[in-house]
């Protein structure tokens, strides 16, 4: 009888696995695709699409997981070899080599599901990544990753990048709520990866390439920017701040303040030099 207990071990692990995923959405500390009120929920339009996709795949794979584990545990329980008093098996094993119809069924059904998932997600992928589908707006900033910081270059009052009035900041990304925002992503040394966890957005910054990336946000507030690609010994601390402004005016105010600060600093430095 004791040999049957092994089936309980497999059952235990399967049950705990499912339980962990069932519990996770209800704990703000555990889980990102959680209700809108919880901290860490997704704030971008693409983030909601990706979370939905995640949940669809989670449901499908979860059902498959439960199905296979139930079958496995049930088999381990039912078909375990039991011996009678003489040490002879109580029951003989069945003798068959397979079943063509079954093979066809369990080939075609997963195939249909997989093709469904592929087609279902394709629109999201194209919307996010195809350069032709990028929002037709001038770039908010050019972001150049380097060991171990993000250099943000915003166009100054003239609205053009790479002109003398550009605003250059480190690790500080600002943009406006509910506006599709485009950036140009670059790297000046090794490969980095531009990762906005709460926007579900990730794009490698590759030296030698300028990659357009777009995102938006439906929530004003501050978020985090992470480097997701190993970029050297300081990779872990390559963190940036993201601030989403409520209104265009707020963003403009912030920009002019920062530009003022940048100019004043340079002027001060210059006059300091003269004074000496």
């Amino acid at each position: 009888m004791v040999v049957r207990n092994w089936s309980f071990l497999f059952a235990l692990v399967a049950v705990l696995s499912v339980a962990a995923f069932l519990y996770a959405p209800f704990s703000p500390d555990w889980w990102l695709p959680n209700p809108h009120s919880a901290p860490g929920h997704s704030v971008s339009s693409m983030g909601r699409e990706i979370d939905l996709l995640f949940i669809v795949i989670l449901l499908i794979t979860g059902l498959v997981f439960i199905g296979t584990q139930v079958a496995l545990v049930w088999e381990a329980f039912t078909f375990v070899d039991q011996l009678d008093e003489q040490g002879k098996p109580k029951r003989a094993a069945s003798y068959f080599h397979g079943d063509n119809r079954l093979e066809i069924v369990w080939t075609l059904v997963p195939a249909v599901i997989l093709v469904f998932i592929t087609i279902y997600q394709f629109g999201t992928w194209a919307r996010i990544k195809y350069p032709s589908r990028n929002p037709k707006v001038p770039p908010l900033a050019e972001i150049t990753a380097r060991q171990f910081q993000w250099v943000m270059r915003y166009p100054g009052p003239d609205g053009r990048l790479h002109s003398p009035d550009d605003l250059i900041l480190i690790n500080d990304l600002h943009f406006v709520k509910n506006q599709p925002t485009l950036i140009h992503l670059k790297s000046s040394d090794v490969i980095h990866s531009f990762f906005l966890p709460q926007f579900r957005l990730k794009q490698d910054a590759v030296p030698g390439l300028t990659i357009p990336v777009w995102f938006d946000s439906d929530t004003a507030g501050s978020f985090e920017l992470a480097c997701a690609e190993l970029c050297g010994w300081g990779h872990y601390k390559m963190r940036g701040n993201v601030t989403v402004h409520e209104t265009e005016a707020e963003f403009a105010k912030w920009t002019s303040e920062r530009i003022g600060e940048q100019n004043r600093d340079q002027l001060d430095l210059a006059t300091d030099g003269e004074a000496r």
Partner: protein, 609 residues
């Protein structure tokens, strides 16, 4: 290469073709046990060196877990000995953390799983299972093993060079790896990493050529391809993957080596300047390396799992006392995995800046490769259905392989969906996925295989109760260690970061507690492996003598003595039927060895489906 071909081909061709000429074993101890051309000795050499490196790779993982659970807290005792100095308060330097995961990944993949599954069991089992006296090219086989020790020396020595071990991850993406001043490990350690992986690669390549030739040319009379055990099929398809994909990695590693030592410009973009070093001419492309790397390293994932799948198929059929369900679909599924395996590599690069339309194509092929994996799982379940399941340690590990492979396979679908991959790429979700496949899959297959074939390899039985205890602890602690990684990964916990608390979202008690729980579990998982080592060595010395066929299995290796003689078979066996004829109605016993002609009373079902 050429001289090997020369010598072996001048020997009589086709040992397996009923030629009963028996070579005497070499008398010299050196050529018998060290520089041996006997496939069984070479198999044991691969197995033992792999297990030694398993210990090293595992210890590196323990140190990793310590830092993740308690960032910057000095490790008791070890921190003073190994990496740090008083001026740092014995903290682990961040670059050392990078060295740890780089070396953990490299060692586990190139020095543990591939050598054990392919080098160890591949060498030992292929000639025995197809009824041959030895490999087609025994001396080439020896050369294949002796490319491993230099690789091991290179990879170990890299810890000692200036700058220390490489720290660019096992994926070794340029330009981090080619700019010498980009990070301490890229100063010198990376060159040794490249040499080590090149040597290990040549070893695998020579082995693959040998395996393919042996399986195709030296099968015993009656051993048609469709009568081969699944283990041989797994190793056969693995060898195809190695032969066709590995040379591309070799070329990529050669180019990276030249970028480092000869100043070539393959993977550096125009005017690349890293860490204030002078700019190089450049003109090349970093993404190209990723393509070439994954062109091998994705098939390498199947290299690490297909032999395990084959072995698990054999073990499940044996201990269910039932024919394998759907032999032919299983073979086609392995073939399908191999075929599709060559055209899915791009799914590692969805966020790398690759062309998104090409990415969409890779997404489709990646989804499709889930199909043969699913078919295999269903067939294993079908095999157990209606059987008389004997829960030996080998069987338990094999069933665990199936259960864990289901998790690893299903979590792969999330990554195959490229929009979802945008979020989980380079997070702990990936770490969970790959450990469910490589530990939950490959390592459980290795545990099962060691337990199952130990009697054949060493002539002694392993201890069952100790084995079961090891299995129980490993299975529980493995899941405790890796399951929650899915959840922290979805939470945005990046991989390869030395300190998660840098990020506000990872500083909360939930993530911290999970990290600490995973670390405790990992320590327990590591400690549980001591039982395996104890069982291994105790059984080696004191285990009860094994009979020729202790599991009442059908395949050919059980038809010779345990351990097999130097020449494997006194007479080359003649194969009469498929390998999984268990519980045939009308027979006295519940197994029917492949060499035994069918008694007139019994009738076999055709192995159709």
């Amino acid at each position: 290469m050429t001289s090997q071909v020369e010598t072996s081909s001048s020997a009589p061709v086709g040992h397996g073709q009923g030629d009963d000429h028996i070579h005497p074993a070499p008398r010299n101890m050196l050529s018998r046990y060290v520089f041996s051309s006997d496939h069984k000795v070479i198999g044991v050499q691969f197995l033992s060196s792999g297990l030694i490196f398993f210990v090293i790779g595992g210890l590196l993982a323990m140190a990793l877990r310590w830092q993740l659970a308690w960032p910057w807290k000095p490790m008791p005792i070890l921190s003073r000995m190994l990496w740090s100095d008083p001026s740092l308060g014995y903290q682990m330097p961040p670059e050392f953390y990078a060295k740890l995961f780089t070396m953990h990944g490299t060692i586990m993949i190139f020095f543990v799983i591939i050598p054990i599954l392919n080098g160890g069991f591949g060498n030992f089992l292929i000639p025995l299972m197809i009824g041959a006296r030895d490999m087609a090219f025994p001396r080439l086989n020896m050369v294949s093993y002796w490319f491993m020790p230099p690789a091991m020396v290179f990879i170990s020595y890299s810890f000692l060079v200036e700058g220390g071990a490489p720290e660019a991850g096992w994926t070794s993406y340029p330009p981090l790896t080619i700019a010498r001043w980009a990070t301490p490990g890229s100063l010198n350690g990376q060159t040794f990493w490249l040499l080590a992986v090149l040597c290990a690669g040549i070893s695998s390549l020579l082995g693959a050529i040998n395996y393919l030739t042996t399986i195709l040319m030296l099968r015993a009379p009656g051993m048609t391809m469709m009568r081969m055990p699944m283990t041989v099929w797994g190793l056969f398809v693995t060898a195809i993957l190695q032969a066709f994909a590995l040379p591309v990695l070799t070329s990529a590693l050669v180019m990276q080596t030249l970028d480092r030592v000869a100043g070539t410009n393959f993977f550096s973009p125009t005017g690349l300047a890293v860490a204030n070093a002078p700019a190089v001419v450049g003109g090349g492309g970093p993404i190209l390396f990723q393509h070439l790397f994954w062109f091998y390293s994705h098939p390498a994932v199947y290299v690490m799992i297909l032999p395990g799948m084959g072995m698990v198929s054999d073990i499940i059929a044996t201990f269910s006392r039932k024919p394998l369900f759907g032999y032919k679909p299983m073979v086609y599924a392995i073939g399908g995995i191999a075929g599709l395996g060559f055209i899915v590599w791009g799914h590692h690069m969805f966020q790398s800046g690759m062309n998104p339309a090409v990415g969409a194509t890779f997404m489709l092929s990646t989804m499709m490769i889930a199909l043969p994996s699913a078919i295999k799982v269903f067939n294993w379940l079908g095999t157990m259905w209606g059987g008389r399941i004997q829960f030996t340690t080998a069987m338990l590990n094999a069933v665990a392989f199936v259960a864990m492979f289901v998790i690893g396979g299903l979590s792969g679908i999330f990554m195959a969906a490229s929009p979802v991959d945008m979020h989980i790429h380079d997070t702990y979700f990936i770490v969970a996925h790959l450990h469910y496949v490589l530990f939950g899959g490959s390592m459980f297959a290795i545990f099962a295989a060691v337990q199952y074939w130990f009697p054949k390899i060493f002539g002694r039985m392993m201890n069952e109760p100790l084995g079961k205890l090891h299995f129980f602890l490993t299975f529980i602690t493995f899941n405790c260690t890796f399951y929650l990684m899915h959840i922290v990964g979805m939470h945005g916990h990046l991989r390869r970061i030395a300190d998660p608390t840098v990020y506000e979202s990872l500083r909360n008690s939930g993530v911290t507690n999970m990290n600490q729980f995973m670390t405790y579990s990992a320590f327990a998982l590591g400690a549980a492996q001591i039982l395996f080592a104890m069982n291994f060595f105790w059984s080696l010395a004191f285990g009860p003598r094994a009979a020729a066929n202790p599991w009442h299995a059908n395949t050919l290796e059980w038809e010779t003595t345990s351990p097999p003689a130097y020449y494997n078979f006194a007479r080359i066996p003649v194969v009469h039927h498929a390998p999984y004829e268990y519980s045939v109605p009308g027979l006295e016993v519940d197994f029917l060895p492949q060499t035994k002609p069918l008694p007139p009373a019994a009738m076999l079902h055709p192995v159709n489906s």
